[in-house]
Symmetry: C2
Subunit: 124 residues, 2 copies
């Protein structure tokens, strides 16, 4: 197999649109920021985590409550809560044996709500 020198495929229309491409290229945010943004949405992009976030928006809850609510194992919930916490979407406080989780802040709800709006309009 012939090794590929140029991973970027040029095309005629890129010449036509040279100005646009160049302009957009210059405004391009740092790779890192776009990466972080994708990572954030990735956390929302799982049914289990969405359910957890929804539940925590209704009430502060402990791990086993969530497990019962979602009919899933304590372990699965705990793993997901860890991801949610790492993404700063939820916080926790310990009260004896029990660890209570709740939403970190208003953003979570706002991102959530925007998503719901899109979903509902999509179905029209």
């Amino acid at each position: 197999m012939v090794p590929k020198i140029q991973p970027v495929e040029r095309c005629d229309c890129e010449v036509i649109h040279e100005d646009t491409v160049k302009r957009v290229q210059e405004k391009m945010p740092l790779e890192e920021n776009l990466y972080d943004l994708a990572e954030l949405f990735k956390v929302f992009g799982d049914t289990t985590r969405i359910k957890i976030l929804w539940a925590l928006d209704e009430a502060e809850m402990c791990v086993c409550d969530i497990a019962v609510l979602l009919k899933m194992t304590q372990s699965a919930i705990s793993h997901q809560l860890r991801l949610l916490k790492q993404a700063d979407l939820v916080k926790s406080r310990r009260e004896g044996k029990i660890v209570y989780y709740s939403l970190e802040d208003e953003h979570v709800r706002q991102i959530f709500d925007q998503g719901l709006i899109h979903i509902s309009e999509e179905k029209e």
Copy 2:
């Protein structure tokens, strides 16, 4: 191995929090809606697609322009554009050989912006 009868682990604290759990359970949205919401965010949860969305927010662009801009193959971009279109996040119009893509509506930008706000506050 003993077969598992009860996938749901009960616990003492669930008894303590019975009211809360019951109340939240009753307000629980349809499984389908939460699933759709997760699917929506999943689309945002990939660096390539985030970059595409960002680019299309700057300007309407054709497939090969995006490929050049992101230094990726035309095929990879085309596959991702299909997903974005299926999720109603982008739309396309053909002009001869060239297919131009653009953002579907304002929601996309709003969801995007909410995410950026969260990211930026996270770093403080």
